[in-house]
Symmetry: C2
Subunit: 377 residues, 2 copies
């Protein structure tokens, strides 16, 4: 199938760029004793997972139990569910684990550890748990220097027959950076917080085999991985305008785009209307706070060549307004009704979630495969 | 099934509020010669459509051809596809029409009209088309005073054997308002633009049976419907915080919410972590530009009672941060890990699109039904 045969909007995935991004990350992290655990929350696709994982059974990271179930169906056997556990989800966790999947959970409080311990002793499933560490104050996690809490969590788990698997940190604060030195410093701070917490637990006599760090920016800019046993990253596979703004991917390496069609013009305003609105792109406007605001996306021709300064400046549910960036000296291209365009997304995780499949390209405009993906919880 | 048995996050729909909102709209628009054409793009659910439509076969409005196919499967026989037609979609339009569905399209240019006419004469399907009118400069549409373009579009359709069904306008600019008088004025401007365009077409000897207007704000505030044959509105059924900010729905009438669970705390910061992030709420931050910024959503207890000043202040993919509104004098409630909360969304269309089903409540905390919905194109 060729691009002109596709109904728009639809999601395109350039397999060559995907493989390039993944191979670069595998090379970057190829160090003795350090595993790579790709986060599958961006792609939510078994086809992509099989390229991203270093082995067919994992390791891998998931953001929902629905993902854990789906990837378990696909043969993945080593996963961490990366959202602090709500006790009501433990039965579902154990149901997945009973299928032979080493599914671990994360938590950051004694209350959760006690709930996990009660679940373990009642049901006989010693659910492995990692303590989430908060290194940069952006979200959840126990403070790396709060030894009392860390040890209390570890003891609550072990006393109840659950398993303390290790510590896990995500430097979400790194998303706000763009200077390579600052990113390297964020990566080192992330590593240090995790290693410090692990050291505290071990000093208290608790086993802490896993020290898991990662985010796309810090995985790209980390120099030192001493004491780290695994690195996680997800959005780097597809790349997006936000990560390009951070400097974690090159614009030309963005593998994901939305194919749309021109449906009209408001010529006096310099507007080109397309059938990709926020439903097709997501409402994500993350680049609004970066040095270059990409609107709802950066516009390319149907072959993927970026136009100078042409962005999706506004989006309604199914309508997008393409126009030149404010202040641009470029000339608005003449794009008749029916012209196909590709739009690079601000945030691959959010845009991909608006779709149930990827139309896979490999360089040209032939669709070489259709890969399904899941959504929901 | 009771709420505590649901896995979070999930989408709740209060059927009593839904019916209340729909009945109020039906009463408001009950005037001789004026049909109500509910927009099904918010709900994308046949169960909701059957409550919203005035008859099982329609009329109804859709935002994608996927919706048109789905609702055709469910027996809807009178629909308008409300996004300017791309010529490559005409084959799909005619395939739906061959099933006995009166599916009409919209357009705003001679180029589109000529493409429709070519399609009509080549395939024998006289696809009915409405000319989209731009009354407030917010998006697509021909200018209501541009008689030359309007008549040229009409003639291009009729000459080629397609059907000029009428004119259609959507006062999207009304979303930025909140003063009742300004909203009434926007509704009158919308009506006048549509009626003017219809008059121009008729004066040129072109049939223009349908004069279709509408948006939730203008449908709620219109006083005069002279010359109008139908009114459209969609988001009013569910309501949301944005429409509450406009004044088109009451906070207490919002029928849609996201059920989530507390998964942690950062007590020093006054943060409560929940398992509803932007994937559960959407990235929509529409209320950021209104008088009351509701963050990513307004927090209620599990019964739907709104807490004072408690909002989802930040959202990552699967994590939400609940905190008091900046400057609030309220006391942060004590909500232990595992507590269920409901979050009212900024934008019902965007939030509902993150799910494939509604858990339907009818007053209490019993789930009385599960209604499926569709997404995609």
């Amino acid at each position: 199938m060729k691009l002109p045969e596709l109904q728009t909007p639809c999601l395109l995935l350039d397999e060559a760029k995907l493989r390039h991004n993944i191979e670069a990350m595998h090379r970057r992290l190829a160090r003795p004793g350090v595993a790579f655990r790709p986060h599958l929350k961006t792609a939510k696709s078994l086809d992509v997972a099989q390229i991203a994982m270093t082995a067919p059974g994992g390791p891998a990271m998931v953001s929902t139990l629905r993902e854990a179930e789906y990837f378990a169906d696909g043969g993945v056997r080593d996963m961490i569910y990366g959202v602090g556990i709500a006790p009501a989800k433990l039965q579902r966790v154990s149901a997945i684990r009973r299928r032979g999947v080493d599914l671990a959970i994360i938590l950051d409080s004694v209350a959760q550890a006690e709930a996990v311990a009660r679940h373990a002793s009642a049901g006989g499933d010693s659910v492995p748990a990692l303590i989430e560490i908060d290194g940069d104050g952006h979200r959840s996690g126990a403070a790396p220097g709060d030894g009392a809490t860390l040890v209390a969590i570890g003891r609550a788990l072990e006393t109840g027959g659950a398993e303390l698997r290790g510590v896990l940190i995500h430097a979400g604060g790194s998303y706000a950076l763009s200077d390579p030195e600052a990113l390297a410093a964020a990566a080192e701070a992330e590593r240090l917080a995790a290693v410090t917490a692990a050291g505290t637990l071990r000093a208290a006599g608790l086993a802490c085999p896993v020290v898991s760090i990662g985010s796309t920016p810090t995985a790209c800019f980390a120099r030192n991985l001493d004491g780290v046993t695994e690195v996680r990253a997800g959005v780097f596979m597809f790349g997006d305008l936000y990560q390009a703004g951070v400097g974690a991917v090159a614009l030309d390496d963005i593998a994901l785009s939305v194919l749309c069609s021109v449906i009209g013009h408001q010529r006096a305003k310099g507007w080109i209307l397309v059938d990709a609105g926020w439903m097709a792109m997501s409402r994500d406007r993350g680049t609004a706070n970066q040095a270059v605001d990409q609107g709802y996306g950066l516009v390319c021709d149907a072959t993927g060549r970026i136009f100078g300064d042409l962005v999706l400046v506004e989006a309604n549910q199914e309508h997008g307004i393409v126009a030149l960036r404010p202040g641009s000296a470029a000339v608005l291209p003449d794009l008749p009704v029916g012209t196909q365009l590709r739009i690079l997304p601000n945030h691959a995780c959010a845009t991909a979630a608006q779709y149930d499949r990827y139309h896979v390209l490999n360089g040209g405009d032939d669709v070489t495969a259709v890969w399904s993906r899941i959504n929901g919880w």
